[in-house]
Every structure is written in structure tokens, then in C-alpha cells.
């Protein structure tokens, strides 16, 4: 189990390297780094400027949900290691929010599991973003598309 919820930034190279370190069975590490964008919404041309965001979470439940998501990924794919780091607090555009990384003997398993983890995390982990826009602070709305992305991993 490797789930971390923290204010501090993380070192992508170090964390990704550590997943394979000393384990000759690892053939591939897939990772996803989520970053704060400088615009609101999904369309850069239409979105308002974002100067910063505040990430709130539910301490306790967050870790519990992330651990459940990780356990589910390990049950579904042959993974050598998994890491999820999610930050909270005030973050500015360009700052890292989240890292999901999976190590496996097989690249397909590493890809599927990493993609699954970020999709699930997006709709299950109790985080809420409040963006600082020219009109003042605004809570970010959840996207219906994210529910679709999660739903595709549901078992038949």
C-alpha cells in the first residue's frame, strides 16, 4: 500500500524510479501527473483565468478511498507496485496536484491500472477544488464525463 495525502510537492523522478528500484521483474512504469491549469472548465478559449486553487479534502475518508482504489487495481492487474500521491491546500497554475504510478512486468497492465486509478480517483476520492477566478472564488463542478470514464471500468 502506498497512498499519500499531503500539502507538500513530490519529486516525480524519484517516486517513479523507486517503484522499479531493485525489482528486476518490472518491465514498465506508467505514471500520470495532474497539474493545475491556468483556465477554468475544459475549453481554454472559453475558460476564465485561474490564478490559484484551493483543494479541500475529507481527512480519513480520503486515505480510506485511495487505499480501496489501490487494492482494487492490485486485484485486477498483476502489479509489482503502486503509488498514489494527492496534494491538498493552495496550489497555483503549473503546480502538481496528483501522481499515480503503476509498475508491472507488462506494459499493458501498467497502463490499464494507472488509467483505472486516476479515473476512479476522480469520482471517488473526496477532494473538492475551489478556483480563484477574476469573478472571485468558485467551486469546480464535477463533470458528467468523469462518471462515464469511471463507469467503463465497471465489471460486466
Amino acid at each position: 500500500m502506498a497512498v499519500r495525502v499531503q500539502r507538500e510537492d513530490f519529486d516525480v523522478g524519484y517516486e517513479v524510479g523507486r517503484l522499479a528500484e531493485g525489482n528486476g521483474r518490472v518491465g514498465g512504469v506508467t505514471s500520470f501527473v495532474g497539474l493545475v491549469r491556468d483556465f477554468a472548465g475544459d475549453d481554454h478559449a472559453k475558460g476564465q483565468d485561474v490564478r490559484a486553487m484551493e483543494l479541500e479534502h475529507y481527512p480519513g475518508m480520503t486515505e480510506r478511498q485511495l487505499e480501496a482504489i489501490e487494492a482494487e487495481a492490485r486485484a485486477r492487474w498483476p502489479l509489482e507496485d503502486v503509488l498514489v500521491i494527492h496534494r491538498y491546500g493552495r496550489l497555483e497554475p503549473g503546480e502538481r496536484i496528483v501522481l499515480v504510478a503503476t509498475a508491472s512486468a507488462h506494459r499493458e497492465a501498467a497502463f490499464q491500472a494507472c488509467h483505472f486509478l486516476i479515473d476512479w480517483l476522480k469520482t471517488k476520492a473526496p477532494f473538492w477544488k475551489k478556483e480563484d477566478t477574476p469573478d472571485g472564488p468558485k467551486w469546480v463542478d464535477a463533470r458528467a464525463q468523469d462518471d462515464d470514464f469511471t463507469a467503463r471500468w465497471e465489471k460486466g
Binding site: 479541500e56 475518508m61 471517488k124 476520492a125
Partner: protein, 83 residues
């Protein structure tokens, strides 16, 4: 039981956490919501549209008919937007 509010539900209720002792006939989440709204003020507004409210009991997502009992930790919050 302990009730928590996050994001705009925290802002609308004006509180992040409260200890409540509803009457014994409050047996599930729906009942608790009705009772909390009946207390008036920000709670009624925060819990007005349940389509945009998620509920967790003891840190697990639950539906509105999930039972609640003394000692439980119940949280109300909007659909999540992390990642």
C-alpha cells in the same frame, strides 16, 4: 452522531462539523436530512437539492436509505472534483 460538511455545503451550513442527537425515529440518512433541514437556516439551503449532495457514513459512500445510529460519522459533500 457526528455530522461533517465539506466544500460549498460547509459554506452554506456555516459549519464544518457538529455533534447532533436526533430523536430516535431518525433511523436513516433521509430521516437525518429531513431533521437537519427542519432546524432551519443554512442547513435547509445546503441540503435542498440532493442530486448534488453525496453522503458517506463512517467514511463509506452510502445511499439515502442507509441506516444511521448514535456514534456514526455522517458526511455531506458535493460530487468530488479531485485528481
Amino acid at each position: 452522531m457526528k455530522v461533517l460538511y465539506f466544500a460549498w455545503l460547509r459554506q452554506k451550513t456555516g459549519i464544518g462539523e457538529e455533534d447532533v442527537t436526533p430523536p430516535p425515529e431518525v433511523a436513516d440518512v433521509s430521516g437525518l436530512i429531513a431533521w437537519l433541514k427542519g432546524r432551519g437556516g443554512g442547513h435547509a439551503e445546503a441540503l435542498a437539492d440532493l442530486s448534488v449532495v453525496r453522503v458517506a457514513v463512517n467514511q463509506e459512500y452510502v445511499p439515502l436509505d442507509h441506516p444511521v445510529k448514535p456514534g456514526d460519522e455522517i458526511a455531506f459533500f458535493p460530487p468530488v472534483t479531485g485528481g
